[in-house]
Point group: C2
């Protein structure tokens, strides 16, 4: 292992001088943590990994977060909030159900597979079980609200005759097909989230 080069001490106040600075440093930690949690998993990621990634000493993340768990909680909540916001927009559009559905698929996949969202989304999907019970409940509540967006559009699709079954089971299959993309999607591959969304809609819906 290469030893980390020690930062030269700088003679400025170590205290965050205004909120923007604190928020910045804190969100740097969240971003770095998300990436590491996705790459190595929560348990295999150490506080030192996270600190190193943003050029802090190993004790310093605890100035921003009270525990490693607290970092995970922040990342996971950020993840579900981001996905919800991304999908709520097309869900509220006045498109026909079929087009709206496809736009929602695209939005969901854009977060999961895109550069800005994939770390926190993967953390949400795969590391939430490491949250304590309370935080897990929080995540579940938000996830239920999110899935409500999907249940609503599925219902409309059934009314339109594009779907024969809009039960919770259908929604779960849909979530599975979408969320599993994180396991096989290659950024260097030919398919865009948009194209994947279109194919999935074609597979699920009838004319």
């Amino acid at each position: 292992m290469a030893r980390v080069v020690k930062k030269a001490p700088v003679s400025v106040s170590p205290e965050p001088t205004f909120q923007g600075e604190e928020t910045n440093r804190r969100s740097e930690l969240v971003r770095a943590a998300g990436r590491l949690f996705r790459e190595k998993g929560y348990s295999a990621t150490t506080i030192r990994d996270i600190a190193d990634a943003v050029n802090m000493r190993s004790g310093s993340p605890f100035y921003h977060f009270k525990s490693k768990q607290d970092i995970l909680r922040t990342v996971a909540l950020d993840g579900i909030a981001t996905i919800h916001a991304a999908v709520a927009k097309p869900a509220a559009s006045n498109k026909a159900p079929r087009a709206r559905f496809e736009a929602m698929l695209t939005a969901h996949l854009n977060v999961l597979l895109g550069d800005e969202g994939r770390d926190i989304a993967a953390t949400l999907l795969h590391e939430s079980r490491h949250l304590d019970a309370e935080a897990q409940d929080e995540v579940i509540r938000l996830k239920d609200a999110y899935e409500g967006l999907w249940q609503a559009v599925l219902k409309e699709l059934k009314t339109d005759g594009a779907l024969t079954d809009d039960s919770a089971l259908t929604r779960l299959f849909l979530m599975g097909a979408m969320n599993w993309t994180t396991q096989w999607y290659r950024h260097d591959g030919g398919r865009s989230p948009r194209q994947i969304a279109r194919q999935l809609a074609k597979l699920l819906l009838r004319d």
Copy 2:
């Protein structure tokens, strides 16, 4: 933490006296490891957890496996072999494509959700990334062979007109819908793997 009660030393040979005994002890470790890997993840599971689960001292698993990685490798390979064997049977039957497909879905889900297979299957699906590169290649090779079973039946379903697209993307959506069941399936819930398989077939196939 409650201290583990120390086993009273027994005055029999500590050496495995015949192969059946060794195989047994080793496979007990594999089963315990699978369960723990599913419940807590590979990184959060310690050798001591695994040893405790089968009433060994913490150094003893290394008599059967050369490293923690080696245990994971064994569980993961066991997982993919089990799933392949379970699905290969209905895949080789002389049923019509549609019925064969549904039987394959049921077989896959029975392993993922059933008492005997779920631990190793979940370990395979969610912990394989912790394998070293060589073992990961091994798993990928076996998984590709396994997915060949599915690609073949999808092709037949397309020929039959039950499917409009039998591309790799369709197979990946299918895998997602199935494998995601491990995230939401409740053993105490009302739905059986059989019923889930039937619903999934209905969602994907056209008359």
